[in-house]
Amino acid sequence: MTRKQAKFFFLAPAIIWVFVFTIFPLGYSAVLSVFSLENSVDVTRTKVPLLDDAGEPVLTRSGKPRTRTVIERTVNSDWTFVGGKNFVRITKDMQAAEAAKVTVIFAVVAVTIQIVLGMALALLFNRKLPARGVMRSVMIMPIFATPIAVGYLFFTIFFENGGPLSFTGIPWLSNPSWALFSVILVDVWQWTPFAFLVFLAALQGIDSEQIEAARLDTESSWKIFTNIVLPALQPVIVIVLLLRFAEAIKVFDIPFALTGGGPGVATQSYTFLAFRTGLRFFDVGYASAMSYTLLIAAMIIVTVFFSRIRKSYS
């Protein structure tokens, strides 16, 4: 095998795979998004003679054969080309607007808390600690805990009649604003450790001599943080911010399990709504248009993200 052949055969399977299982579905989805699927039901009534056990027609008193009516329903799925109508519909759809609002609030608040809290914890723990390994292990657990199970687990924790947090009297899941906050809290529980671990790893890479020198110059801790630590950590903060944000706008599992999108639609995320529209109500064209809107939002984030970190992959 020449180098040229090796170059081709090593890389080709993965590229073909992505084309078959990612690019093709995305193209399919793009096509679906400009169609509308109308399900119409045709009902046909036909009268058939009623037969007795022996197969003979049953007669009425007047001697005519008795009949029974057979009702047949056939579902016709008609794909109609609607052009950009699905996308126009999104802009007028109150539910989509609400879901978008919920998703943005969720993503902004959750990611902000994760970054601030993760940073605070990383600074706090960036020192010699007797049980550092234990702390690290405890922080790794939430990240890998099955999200759907985490959602149900927190359902038992936020349970208002006898759950461990019921002593607060807070309507964790029954009040719309609190319910959204509860979903945010679960995400904070799950992903603050991620910010923490990444920041801690980055903190340990900072030259400690520089900080010692600044400390000897009697600079305040806050000044050391803003002048030395924060600039050194800036690229890592950007990475965590964008990775988390790109994940957060896709949130689905936690609201699905914790609140079922409720109360009302208070915690119905955009992915949740698209999932319901497409796979529960089979409004496939419209749901595809909705997912494409999310895709475009994600792509904008990705573009910003990769323009920043592209150099680390060179």
Binding site: L11, V18, Y28, L124, L153, N161, T271, L295, F306
Partner: protein, 283 residues
């Protein structure tokens, strides 16, 4: 003297804060374990934080009940089969690509751009592909099959394999492979006999991490599976029918779902930061 005393006080305050933080993050998992060991009658009546033996008499009945149902066993088997095969498939397709991006120079499309292209798959919203995937699988008659879920999970974890293991191959010294090539070994032999064994630890760790991702996947699993191919997260969601009543079963199911990926994450600790930032931060 004064300074030292302050330092000691600071250390003590710090230890208290550290323990508190660890307890807060551990509490939900502890609570699940505690609930899972309670008799149904104790579920809402325990005092304090529900310490077994102290606040209630623990029982293993909930665990025995849940683990002996055919549904749970079926879901455990399905999840294991799907996650394992998806992991192996992703490694099979992704490893050569990772190696190629580390060792060959591509000119039409640069290595950097190819890597970023693989990376960008990770950020796509899965809901954009779930409907076409559902329709295609329906027309192929593959709904509710292991195969459909293996294929889609392999697709999700493939970018991880390519991007993270590319970095591992880059970290290897090239001299050995060069020597083998000079001695007349083929590219494939060099990859299989030299590069792969040398990077085996990171291949195994990456394999563990992507297994956990596949194990946790829910959106496609609930769309594709309905009975035969139900995975653990979908089985977990079945608790929705009984929610509000049978918390003890929900706790058991949540733990059954969470234990394998959490244990795996603890095994793969060293690579977690690198894995989760897709190689952008070396932890």
């Amino acid at each position: 003297m004064v300074v030292r005393r302050y330092a000691r006080l600071y250390d003590q305050v710090f230890s208290v804060v550290a323990i508190f933080v660890a307890l807060v993050f551990f509490f939900p998992i502890y609570w699940a374990a505690s609930t899972s060991l309670r008799n149904p009658i104790d579920t809402f009546t325990v005092s304090g934080v529900g310490v077994p033996f102290l606040d209630f008499d623990p029982t293993l009945n909930n665990w025995i009940d849940q683990l002996s149902t055919p549904e749970t066993q079926n879901a455990l088997i399905n999840s294991t089969i799907i996650s394992t095969l998806a992991t192996l498939l992703a490694l099979l397709v992704g490893l050569p690509a990772a190696y190629a991006l580390a060792r060959f120079r591509y000119t039409t499309i640069k290595n950097k751009d190819l890597t970023v292209w693989f990376l960008s798959q990770r950020v796509l919203p899965p809901v954009a592909t779930v409907m076409p995937f559902f329709l295609v699988m329906r027309s192929l008659g593959l709904l509710d099959t292991h195969l459909a879920l293996i294929l889609i999970n392999a697709t999700f974890i493939l970018p991880f394999v390519v991007v993270i293991l590319r970095q591992s191959f880059l970290d290897l010294p090239y001299e050995l492979e060069e020597a083998a090539l000079v001695d007349g070994a083929s590219f494939f032999q060099t990859f299989l006999r030299i590069a792969l064994p040398l990077s085996l630890p990171s291949v195994v760790t990456t394999g563990l991490i992507i297994f956990a991702f596949a194990w946790n996947e829910f959106l496609f699993a609930i769309t594709i599976s309905s009975q035969k191919a139900i995975t653990i997260p979908v089985h977990m969601a079945g608790a929705v029918d009984t929610r509000g009543v049978q918390f003890w079963f929900m706790a058991v199911r949540a733990l059954i779902a969470m234990i394998p990926p959490v244990v795996i994450a603890l095994l793969a600790q060293r690579y977690i930061v690198r894995g989760l930032t897709l190689g952008a931060v070396k932890g």
